[in-house]
Symmetry: C2
Subunit: 162 residues, 2 copies
């Protein structure tokens, strides 16, 4: 059973343990692979981000996501999220739980849609997961992501209404 | 003849005169229509923006653009720009001159592509102008922009390689 709650700054160490393997792999987030703990935490806790964490039965933090407005003014009604789960928790539905929670949270906050700006095309697992959560591919960005082993790969823009 | 040069903070009054009609119209930029001069100038001069201005034969500033990296880390090789021309200068090729200049500038700085994230679908003039400058529609965002008279309208993602 995964429980999702708003994060506090006391969760920073656990959030970093979740983020580190994904950011070090450099295959999905537009952050430098050698990002410091401090910069990663600052990126996650940007002032416009709402941060949530997912805890498993034992109270261990196994995932986190941010929710924010994707743009401003007349485009501020579309939300954006980023999700990271602990690699050891793969297959336990953490990513899906985070995404479904974020859709509900975004709806509650009055957003009318959610957009992912850069779903790396080689990240088939994420792509299928977001599709199974109701997202559609609405765009394809040629060579938009420098993958550490695959070189320049395409990225998808994904969208769903709320 | 349009001349394009890097802007300085001494151009702020002229830049505001260029930005104001477009931002007040609220039909193309994701900024609130009632944005203050101060906020508009701060938005244009964000620390990651390179700012240029276009002068006509008489030395009047008739357009401006920003150039920046559209993302960070492994996606920092794609540029993004925003262009605004003085409405009174319409039909004089200011927008095209700004765009062609920005493509050259982006190439010079080592960017590999340029992406526009939110080309409002009702803005047919901009759409055709960017297409004539080599951009392609690579995505469509449903209802992503709250137009002041048309309601929620789609927006395009546009891209070109460099």
């Amino acid at each position: 059973m995964i429980t999702i709650r708003p994060a506090t700054r006391r969760d920073d160490e656990a959030i970093w343990r979740v983020l580190e393997p994904t950011l070090r792999a450099g295959e999905s987030y537009p952050q430098p692979r050698d990002i410091s703990r401090e910069d990663a935490i600052a990126y996650w806790w940007k002032k416009e981000h709402f941060i949530f964490v997912a805890e498993d039965e034992s109270g261990q933090i196994v995932g986190t996501y941010y929710l924010k407005a994707n743009s401003t003014g007349p485009a501020a009604h579309v939300a954006n999220c980023g999700y990271v789960a602990l690699p050891q928790a793969a297959g336990r539905g953490v990513g899906r739980a985070l995404c479904l929670h974020s859709l509900e949270e975004a709806r509650r906050r009055g957003f009318r849609g959610m957009q992912f700006n850069l779903v790396v095309a080689t990240n088939a697992r994420a792509l299928h997961l977001w599709q199974s959560c109701g997202f559609e591919i609405v765009g394809r960005l040629p060579g938009a992501f420098a993958h550490p082993t695959e070189g320049f790969v395409d990225a998808f823009v994904m969208f769903r209404g709320l």
